[in-house]
Each structure stands twice: as C-alpha cells, then as structure tokens.
Symmetry: D2
Subunit: 456 residues, 4 copies
C-alpha cells in the first residue's frame, strides 16, 4: 500500500552434509527474505532420487503448514523462493521453484532478476517445438539447459549463461547438485555461506543469520557455483570489464542487516543520510525518518547535521495485508492506518523529513499532510537517493513513466506537489560515495538511463 | 471407500455462438460428469485472444466459487475436466486442463484415457530437448502438437494421432478453435451435441442433459472434430478393422442415464441383470441390489426371474468424502457408514444379492456379513459382469493383480471368501449380448486379456 | 434445492463403559443422522470433570477434522447434534450442543423439536433477570433446569418437563450423566440402544446401525431416562391419553432403514405405495419413483398394481450443496442438475409417477416437464401422503401458507399447475393404515389442522 | 514469541450521527488497537432495532472479510473488541463483543480489564439461577445489568459499578445507546473523541488518529458516559481518593503515539530513557535499543548521556505468527528469526542495551548472546522500568512467579543469568517522574505489591 518500488524475488539454496532438516532451514531462510517478495513462496528438496516440492501464493507462514514441511523433510538438498511479480503477472502457475524433468533427470529453479532477451529466447525455443506453461524466465532457462545438456550439466549451465541476457541470481538444484549463478554484471545479489559442513546460498546474508550460518563471500559476477557430494566447484564465465550491481538494493530493497558485496547495507544507508546532510543542509529543530524505510538515513542525517533525531512518525507494527479498501469517506486518511504523527513532538517544530526515495509521490504527500495536521511548522523533505526517472529492466517493478513523479516533474514541482517547504535529493555522486569502499561499479539506470546493456 | 474400479477422467468442450456463459455451462456439465473423477476439476476458456483458466484439487463445487466463474465469463470457447488419478499420481501439477503456449499460440488439453507409449514419446521429446512439468499424457501430446505444427494445426492433430497409442477422448482448444478427438479403437467415449447453434462435446450424454443440449452422435473412433467460426470439420484418421469400446463403461463407469455409442447404459445394465437371471437362476424370496451400482441389474434380474425386487440395503445419501478413518474398534463396521441392511425385510429370507462387479472382494464380504447379521437365511450373490482378472492399460485404475480377487481365486474360492451361499458371474457372451444392438466390438481385456493392442 | 419439507435436527448421546472413543462414535452416528440437518453439527464430551466441545456450521465431515476429534477423545460421555434451522435462524451462535455452567456444574443440550411456549418462558426468565445469547429453545431449557436445580438434577428435569410445551427429543449431559427425554406426546422420535455395556440414544435407529449398536426400544412419550455410573433410571412424567407421533417422519424425514416406535420406515413407505395403488389405480405402462424420496412408495405401487417398476428418472449422486446459482438462461433446467429422465425408457409410455409429497409444486412441475421432453405419453402423478395444507408448529420447517400449494389449490388445480394428466393423493385413512400396527396415535396437523395442543 | 507481558484487550465504540460506515470505522480502529490483543476480534452494530455482530479468533484482517463488514453496514452504533486471553482461556466462546438479550432488549459488551470478584458474583448469580456460557467477566456484568434493570438502564449501570471490583474499561451498546465506563481507580485507559458530530470511545487515542477522529478527553475514573440520540450524559460514580492508573501502559502496552490521561506515551518512554541514563550512567561507545519496545527509551538514554544511538539490532518486519516451531537443532537461534545484530556496527564496541522490561529473561539472554557473537566488547543492559516482581490482577497476563525472573533473582543474579556486563533498572521514583505532569496516582503493584485494592 505504501508507494515503494517492489523487488521481485528472493532465493535460497542448501546442500546439507550434517543431517539438518533442509526444509525447515529453507523455511526460516525464506522467512528472513520475506521482504523481497510477498506474493508466493515455495521450497523444493531432493534426497538424491527425486525432487519434491510445495509452493503456493501467500506469505511464507501462510504457504507452509507443519505438515507441508514434514513431507519435505527427507531431503538433503533444497532451494527456496519468495516472489513479487511484475504488474499483472501474479498467476498461480508462476510460483517458484519451477520443477521440471528433462532427459538427464530433474531440475528445480529459483530466480531473482529479469532476462531482457527472454521473449527472443522463447520464440527460438518455440520454433524448436518447445511449449510453455508459465510466463517465467525460469521456464526459458530450464528449456535451455535441457537443450544444452548433452555434454554434461555444468557445460549446459555455461551455455545457458552465454545465451541469456539480463539480471539473474539463481539457485538451481538437480537430484544431487546445488547450483548458484549470478549474472556477469552482478546486478542481483547472491551470497555464499556455510552452516557446519553444509553450503548455503541466499539473496541476502540476513537469511544466513536467521539459520545461524556463516557468510563466506558473495558469488562473483558471472560465477557458477556447483555443490555436490564432492564439494564446491566454481566456474567463472566471461564477464564485462565493469560490474553493475543494483544500487537500489542498498537504498531500499535489501534488509538493513544484510551485507552485499562486502558492504553493510546499514552503513550505506546511514552514510547516505550523512552525505545528504552535507549536500542539503537546512536549519531545523528535528530530524524525523519515515518508518521503516527512512529511519537509518534519518539517523545519519541527524548525526552529521547535529539536529536531534526524533520519532515523529509511528508505524502500526501489525499492518500487514488488509483486503478491506477504505471508502471515499476515509480515503484521505488511508496512510493513517499505517502511520501516525506524534503531535506533542512535532507541533510548532521545523522538521527535516527523511525518506529513502519517492516513487509516485502519493505517500510523501500524505505524510507531509499528516505532519501539517499535527502542527509541524516547516517540513523539509530530504531523500537519500537521486530522483527515479527511468524504468528498471532488471527485476524491479517500476510504475509506468507517467506515474513516476521524478520522470514527470522537476524537483520544485515535486516539492509543491507533496506540499513540503523544501525538497532535496541525494546526488548520484553522493550516493556512489556510500558504496565506494566496495571498489565495484553500480547500475544507476533508474536515475540516469545508463543501463549495463541495451534494453530499450 | 467402496471397492470399485475407478475411472480416470471426464472431459467437456463447448464452442458457443449464442452468447451463453461458457464457464457456467462447463461448470454444470462437469457437475454432471463428477462421477468420472473426484480428485480435481478445471475449466479453461478463450474469448478469441487468450486462454485463461481455473483448476484445483477437489470436487467441482469446491474448486469453483462464483467469483472464479465470474473471471472466466468472457469466453466463447471452453473446455473442462474432472480427474481421477492412477495410484500415487494425485499431484497438484497434474490437474487439467493443461494450458500451454507454443509457437502458434495457446492450447488447452483435457484428456480421458491413457497412452501406452507415453514414456517412449516422452523420452524422444526429451532427447529433442523438451522439459516436463507434469506426469500427464496431455503434456506429451501438447509437445507433439507443438513440434508438428508447421503445416497447420489440423495437420499437427493428425500427426499426433499417428504417433500416440492407447486410449484417449480429448477436448482441446486454441484461442479460436474447439477440437474433439477419439482414439482409433474408440476405447473411451466422447459424444457430440448441440445447444442452439453451439456445439458441445462431452464424455457422456448426461452432461448434455444437464445443460439442455441435444445429443447428436458419438465422435467416431479415430475422428478429429474441429469446430471454429466456420463451423464443424471432421477428419477421419485411419482406424483398425474393429473398434474396441470399453465395455466397463456400460457395466459401471458411465452414468445410468447416458447413451454411449447409441446404447442406453440403463438398458445395458438392466439386460445384464436379465441375462444373469437366465444364466444363473436360483430359488429365492427376493432380489436385492447393492446401491447404487447394482440396483439396475437387480431390477432386471427380478423382472426376468419373477422373484420380487426389494430394497434390502439402504445407502446413506450424505456419504461423501470423510477424512476420519474408523479405528480398529469399529473397522469391521466400516461399510455400515455407507450401507445399512433392512432387518425387517431380509430376516429369514433367501436373498439374491446383485452387484455389478467384484474387485478386491472386501465390500462384498462386508455386505454379506451385514445381511447375515440382519438375519438373511441364504445369500446368493450374482454379479452382472464376468470376473475381473487382468489390469486395464487404457485409463482404468485397477489394483495390482495380487489384490484382484478374480485373478487370485476361483469362483468357488471367492464365494467362500465373501461368505455367500452361492456366487455366479455373468458370462462374457451374456455381457456382449447387452450391447450387441450397437453392432460394435468391445475391449474385454480385463476379463480375458485380449487387449486392442500389445501393451504388456 | 428440491422442494421438500425440512426437518430441524438430529440428536445423539452415549454413556460409555467399554473404553470406546466416544467422540468418534458420535461422529459416525451424526454422519448417519446427517439427513436430519445439514446446517451445523457439534459434539460435546465429558470425562467426569468438565465438558468440552466442538461445533460449527457445515456438514459433519466439514465441521470435524481428525484433530478436532482427537481433542474430544478423553470423554466417556458424549452428545451430538446436527441442525436444520427454521427460516432466518441459521446463526453461528445457535449451533448445538449448547454448553452452559450453572450452580451445580456443567450441562450440554442437544434438541430436536420446537417449544410452542418458548417466548412466554423466555419472558418469564428475563423478568427474573436471565440474559439470552442465542434464540434456541435449548437456552430456555438450560435456564429452567438451573432455576429448578435445588432439589437435585432429576427433579429439575421433571419440573422442566412440566413447564415446557411443544415437541422435544432431547439428549442432555452433565459431567457424569447422560439424559434422554421425549415430549409427553412423543412427537419427535428418540430411540435407546446398547453397544456392549454402553447405552446410546439417537433420533433414529440408523445411527445405532452405523456404530454397531443394538436397538433396544424407543424412549416413551414423557419419559426421562438418566444414565449414570449406577446404570439407567427411567422417570415417567404424566402423559396425555393419546400419543401424537409425527407421521411425517414415516412419509419423508426419517431414513428408510430406521425403526421408529416399532415400525419400519421402509415398510410404512412401501405400504403407502400399495394403498395408494388401491385407492388410486390407473392404467399405465410403468411406475416411476422420484429418486430418492419416492422410490420405496413407487415399488409398493408397482407391486400392488402389477404395473412394472422402472427407473425412469436418474439422480446425480454427487449433487451436494452448490453455491453457484443457475442464471436465467438455464434456470428452467435447474432440476436437470439433480435429475435426468431416461428417454429410451419413458418415450411413448404412460407413466405413474410416485413421490412422497408436494410442498410448493415447483419440483413436481419441473419433473413432469422433464418426462414430457423425454417423450412420456401420459403422466399420472401419485403422492403417497395427503395434501399438506397447514403449517407445523413442532419442529418442521414448512413454508408460509401462501407458498403451500395444497393450502391454496384444489387437487384439480394442482394437477393442472404441475402439468400432469392426473393427480391423486393417499387418503388420511390410507396413511394411518401404514402405521396402524404400532397401536399408536399420530399428529396429522399438517393435513387436517388437528394439532396435539393449541398452538395458533 | 518474545518474552513480554501481554495486555488483555482493546475496546472501541462509536455513536454515529453523520452517516459514516460504522462497521468500517470500527474495523480500522481495531486495526490500530491490534497490539492490545491478537487472539480474536469482533464488531457489533445496531441500527436502532437489533444488534448484529461478527466475531472470531484471529487477527483483525483475518476475522473480517469485505463481505462480513458489508453485512454490518446498516448500523449507526457500533462497538469493537480485540482480545488477548489469560493462560488457557483462548476459547472460541470467549470472543467479544458478548451480545445478549434481556428483558429490556439487547446489549453488547466489550471489556478490557479483569474483575477480581468475578467468581463471587458468578456464584451469587448462579445461586439466583443464572447459567453461563463463557468464562468472561462480560457475561457476569451482562447478568448484573439484566437483574438491576428495573429502574432504567443508567441506574442498572450504576448498580453494576457498585458491585464489581477490579479493572475495567468498557464499551457497551444497546439498540440505541452507546456507553463507556472506566473503573473507579481508572486502572485501564479509555478515551473519548469526536468525529464530526459523532462520539467515539477507544482504549487508546491511536484509534482516533486512524479514523481521523479528534481526542477530547479521557473518560474519568468511575465515570459512566451514555451517548444517545439526545447527546452525551455523564454519570460520576463514587471514586477513591486516589486514582491508580496502570503505569505499564506507559512502559510497554500502549502504542507510542497514544495519549493516555493527558500524557504522551512517547514522551514518557523517552523520559524514562533519560532518567535511566541519569540514574545508571555507564561509559560506552553506543546506545542500542531492543526493537521495537526499547527504541524510544534508548533514544532518550542516548540524548541524556551523549553516547551516540545506533541501530545495532534489526527486526524482521514480516515476523507475524508462525506456527512452525524451531526444532532443537535451531532452537538456540530462535530469537534470530525476529532479530539480527549488525556485526559491522557492534564489533569491538561497548554497548548500552536498552529495553523496556525483563519478564522471564529468556529474550534478554538471547539478545546478549546475539550481540556477543557479533563481537560486542561490553554489554551494559539498562531497563527503563523497575524489576517486575509481582503478578498483576487487573488485566495483564503475567507469568507465574516462579517464571518471573525479577521475583526469583537479585539484579546481580539476573545480570549473570542473561550474560550482561552490567544491568540496571529504572527506579520506581524515576519511573513516576516520567508521568508526574499528569498529577495522577499510579498502580505499581507489579513492582512493589501495593495494589489499589485487596486482591490476593
């Protein structure tokens, strides 16, 4: 309900050597990755012979009962997936993992990202006689592997990587192998960890923390990791000169407690707030963060500026999915169900209001209104990322350009639209500083249209 | 729960030209075909552009809410399916219709029957790179059509028919066509009907009656019927000299009120009872049918023998699926939940007990016991079909041979096992007489191992 | 959906001395009584200390999962209830058993029937300060017992019986007693049985058969049976000169396989058909029963008249509750979802169509139409009970008089309305003959307005 | 799952004069009060003639579908309730509002609090013949009102207040009146607000904010507010010299954005942190709050001490109710599903860890361990309330004394038990300072055993 960009998926994988309950560990890992996708969830496991799975639409605790996990208990290899679909695509058949049989056995796929040449590949495969039962990229990739599989599974993976373009963090399993693949630009994150003698893979390290696993390193751009009874093998496929990590993972998508490509998401967000304060100072009485997305940057802003941080907005921690739509009569109060302003704190005060981003502007406008009604004297909105002006082709659900306020309006117009007294965004340079210690390059396509590959 | 052979599916199709609600008609047609499959149900519709569908495990009224049907309302072509799976195969992914995309567009499949060369075809397709997401024959057939589709859809259908072996009554739809196909031996039934200007296809004519449609004729063995905006086209593929209709449809599977291949199921069952009386007379006080499967034959037996028909057994008409398993303590009374004997009627009487078939013998044994407890003096069991001795390879879920009492024991042994005073079966010749007016040939494989094709 | 009078409830009770699973036995007994009420179901049990229960709206197998029964497993006393509510009264709070605490402990109530002085009693109790949370008679009775309880439980039961008027078959339990009560006119049925050393009570004997219990006798009009650790005690309260059993139990409500007040329901129905044939003979080719309500009487008619019985109408045995309403387009075919006519049997034939009763006439009309469409030459409707002209005040859900076709029209008018060639009803005298061997008197209020007590 | 005291309920009421959708407003208000009870929810409404309601176990969005609210749409008066039950009492029949009929009409009750003389009153009522269907205090109160109702409803309310002892914030409705009552000690909160011309009542003002209503004042201790068509009437019943507000509402129960008895919960919590810093200073590198309960006090501690505030612990914002219990294998990581430590922030640091309270100590111990594993050098735990040593009798679900670590151990022992380097609690005097601006007295029973009335 809040006006945010939406991520498309989270993936997990485990190859167990210690007798863990692979299904249960996958469950808790997906629970930790729930913020990456709330539409459907699924787990597939293998005990060496056959892949069995359970998946459905809904949140992780809704999809799995104790009985469902019980049935998956026998496995020693497992992958899991949580999903957010792009507009219109929330079809039951698109839930993942996608489990298929092919000439060499069984495979299951969990994918985070988006292929930009999926329709071309699909057409070619269809020309070759393939049929499709879903609209997922995973089904395209499964077909490629099946067709490339004559010289062995690893060879098929390599050939697949050569043929697909776009972003992908993948966990794949066969009856006896676990695979992790990250696209050559490293757009979407994928981390490798260890739990005892068992290897684990996850979109974010917070999933490792949830199950007590240790973070080892990130899967490298273009790297194919194959884990089997013989241990871990790494295949490095050719990569471009520069990586192109999605910087929005640091701005909003990832959980604050995750480490991506060596950088703490928390630190990046706090630093974004600090640099925002340097770049866009303002005389005010307090810094207020929009919970929960703006809190960390707000603390950074406060620290740097010396203006005290205050919890001027409170979030209803029980707000989940409600299917009751507020009628016209209370529509204007819709944001109130989720947020409330602390009148005693903000009344008569000059406020620096910090959020991570503005998408359509609707929530920002409602929050400014909420604070005005509570008596705030001045509201200076500060955004810890640059204006979003262009769509993402790599797995982020961006609204159409005509709904994207940053694409349609100048900063002054946006400021007027949301009713703030002033509005500033973090600069692209400022943003890059928050992640510079990684020594990596980043995709800034949604800010400046410079995508890692041709995609329009 | 009763000891019966289980059918595997029912199919339906409609090409509407009169503005009917295609989804709603499909729903009521599936409702009428519910006896052919209680595990899952589904409907797919197209309004010319795209195929949408809804399917799930459960009975027809459980699978579809009013809202589900509402979403399918826009179509003018529709197919539907009810499913009973063979042992172990009740997987969510196997629900039908199977909807796929291929190079020429979309297709949906509803299949009743069983291919005997499915695994060979699957292997070949896998060799060519195909992946499989279900264990259904429909997915094999969809792949074949996709591969054969270069010279047009009708040509692909013909090629598919040339390649597949086994039994099949199919309704297939594309965005703008409805297809009905019956295998060259005509093993499984498929009827053609008309509702106003709209054509309908169904496994049994009772589905036509449920929606007020008129029965026109049966789809012929080996016939492909294609219905499109231009009307109905019939393609006759090569057929063997003799058809081989499944005679068990007349004995038990089909609904009494259906007409299959020109023969009234009711008449065939009543005649089976009559001939049974001629072949196996006995001196008795009353004829009692096992409800509901033996009732019609029992009436025929009574008519022929002159022994009065009595309702000595009463069925609980609310018995559906109960998930509570009777414990050991009341296991022996398990059949009592479904059936009850009328002590006042049967006490001290000599009874001719008529049923359509004996599979494992467990239910027959329990019913004989029930009647003995109610005071029956003599119980002469009469079965309106020959002993089932061999498995079916064409879509009927037969138990393993070691559970099939007719395969393991002589008639005398069975009689002793179930505790009856005498036991006789209808002869194969007697059975054939009940359907002789059709002028057709029949598959008697489960009685005499003479299957229409090599399949062991 | 079919045009029938509806019963209001079924009750069950067990006092176990043999270590049976009381909850499971109650479950199977309620399953057997499901025809008496399909709106809600419930079971309460006690293991000597406390009463626990589970109840909900829905059919028996929908209300109870294996887990629900597991939780009730500890009890050695149990009562159960299935419910059909009168118009408008299907409220969740009205599900039974009603479980209450009062000064002497706990009580649970399961009631079949209707009190005619409930509102007067309720007002009196409210005057005394009572509050009510349901609209059930059971809550009134629970309050009475609580108020009368100073001189012991049995005394309170007697006083309650003295104060309530109307019909009631009750099973009541405390922590350590099971009680069965039947109203002084014996309007609603209640039978006593034994399972090993354990006593059971049920609305109909078919519940005993389902659990392997033995029918001992009916609870007598005005009898209070108390079963405790010390055994069974019977208290006979004053009764009127004549009993007044509900004759409609024999016509339609009870299951064919039940024995009520010593009379076999099956025999009464068959005899009704016989006498109907004597009273209203007609020259015809076949007798057809409306399944399932008219089947037994039709067999009796055929036997007496010598006209052969034929299954001219077939019922869809999977028709349960469907929540999809047929639209106008197929409304006229609504009865077709449930029934189908066998054209091959009825075409060109003169038919005697037998049903047990006509309420609004809508179903009869639709069936006559169905047979006409199937080519029947003549349709002579014969009803195995007299015309229903007056409402029931004793627990039967009768429609308003203006909907009751027997109250509004002459037999000739009804015949014309439903489109039959002739129509006759069984006479009241003929009906009484079917139950005369009981030596009892019966309530015929719905036919002749002579109710057992003043109630209008 | 976290080790917290649990509140027992939240109540709401509205008397609409502006044509609002009373059910929808109640829904959103209950949504805002969800933190006060997650076990069941219910809404009752009246349109002047009759009270209808919907209630069930589950969270607010689970209990109400759009259709459920639609059915309640007609009302102009409504009350709502969210419930947390004391141990063992989560029975379906105990869901509220409790709706009853009595001699003067209908009443519905929503209660937050606990009567300490409920069982005595119940016994007396049972002596008078009352029966009970629930174990709620509401049913006792409904019986009292029914018995006292001869001299009018308001008189009955006054008499009820004279008879009941304990804590209660009540919203009660009849067909045409809305009532709010707060116990004479004012133990549980209840606020009065206005939405246009319509009066509203709620446990906390955050419910007013959620629906855009304006906070007017708190209902006074011992005040009965009756709102009807004629407007608002206040009846002041006798009160003790000193009020005795529950101070734990300020420490933990109430939402940070609520105003109770004129005091901002947020301010009280921040001040608690400040005073805690003054009373228990420590040399450290950062202040970390346990999210979400300790965050506000941690900010106050940081502000006062000058030690920077850091988000060293991150909460999984999707953690709701999971029914999967972690097995032994990952039990020790159970808190990790909800919380994660930021290694990069806390490693090698001396941390002041602030939480609002310690109940059993299990969560505190797990968090200290989490921080140790993440490399924290020193952990100084600071609790923004005094040690909980005694049970609450007034509506708070406290564990048995032997589970209450504050009752069993000295502060030193607790410190050792949870593994912290130091541990200090806020003093009772310090705590009272946070609410002194109210000029009220508070119940401190759980800290010092001085309860507002005799209750042990």
């Amino acid at each position: 309900m809040l006006d945010k960009l939406k991520d498309e998926c989270g993936v997990f994988g485990i190859y167990d050597k210690d007798g863990h309950d692979v299904a249960l560990l996958s469950y808790f890992a997906l629970y930790a990755l729930q913020h990456r996708g709330q539409e459907s969830a699924g787990i597939a496991v293998s005990e060496g012979q056959d892949i069995i799975y359970h998946k459905n639409v809904g949140l992780v605790p809704e999809v799995f009962t104790e009985g469902d996990l019980e049935k998956l208990k026998t496995g020693n290899i497992g992958i899991g997936h949580v999903r957010h679909s792009v507009k219109g695509g929330n079809l039951p058949q698109n839930t993942q993992p996608l489990v298929t049989k092919y000439k060499k056995g069984s495979m299951a796929f969990a994918h985070n990202g988006a292929l930009i040449n999926a329709s071309t590949l699909r057409e070619k495969l269809e020309e070759g006689g393939a049929i499709f039962q879903t609209t997922t990229d995973s089904e395209v990739m499964a077909n490629l592997i099946a067709r490339f599989s004559d010289n062995g599974f690893e060879n098929a993976l390599e050939k697949m990587v050569q043929n697909i373009k776009g972003s992908y963090a993948l966990t794949i399993m066969t009856e006896d192998k676990l695979v992790g693949i990250r696209d050559p630009h490293g757009i979407r994150p994928l981390a490798l960890g260890k739990l005892g003698n068992s290897y684990v893979l996850a979109s974010e390290t917070c999933a490792f923390d949830a199950i007590g696993a240790e973070y080892i390193r990130d899967v490298r751009p273009g790297e194919i990791i194959v884990i089997s009874n013989e241990g871990l093998t790494s295949i490095q496929t050719p990569v471009p000169l520069q990586s192109c990590f999605c910087i929005f993972e640091f701005i909003y998508f990832a959980r604050t407690d995750s480490i991506i490509d060596g950088i703490s998401v928390y630190t990046a967000r706090r630093d974004a707030g600090r640099i925002l304060a340097m770049e866009n100072p303002v005389d005010a009485d307090m810094v207020v963060g929009v919970p929960d997305s703006g809190t960390t940057a707000a603390l950074g802003y406060a620290e740097e500026s010396g203006i005290p941080y205050r919890e001027g907005l409170i979030r209803n921690r029980y707000v989940g999915r409600t299917f009751i739509k507020p009628t016209q009569a209370i529509r204007e109060q819709s944001v109130r169900i989720k947020l409330n302003a602390l009148e005693r704190i903000v009344k008569g005060k000059r406020i620096v209001l910090v959020d991570d981003s503005i998408v359509r502007g609707t929530t920002s406008k409602a929050i400014v209104e909420l604070l005005r009604l509570a008596g705030a004297k001045e509201i200076h909105m500060r955004i810890s990322s640059p204006p979003i002006k262009y769509p993402c082709y790599f797995g982020i659900d961006t609204p159409d350009r005509d709904e994207l306020i940053g694409a349609q309006s100048t900063v002054e117009e946006i400021c007027e639209n949301i009713g703030a007294d002033s509005l500033s965004y973090l600069s692209v340079d400022g943003l890059l500083k928050t992640v510079e210690s990684s020594g990596c390059s980043f995709c800034l396509g949604c800010f400046n249209r410079q995508y890692p590959m041709e995609c329009e």
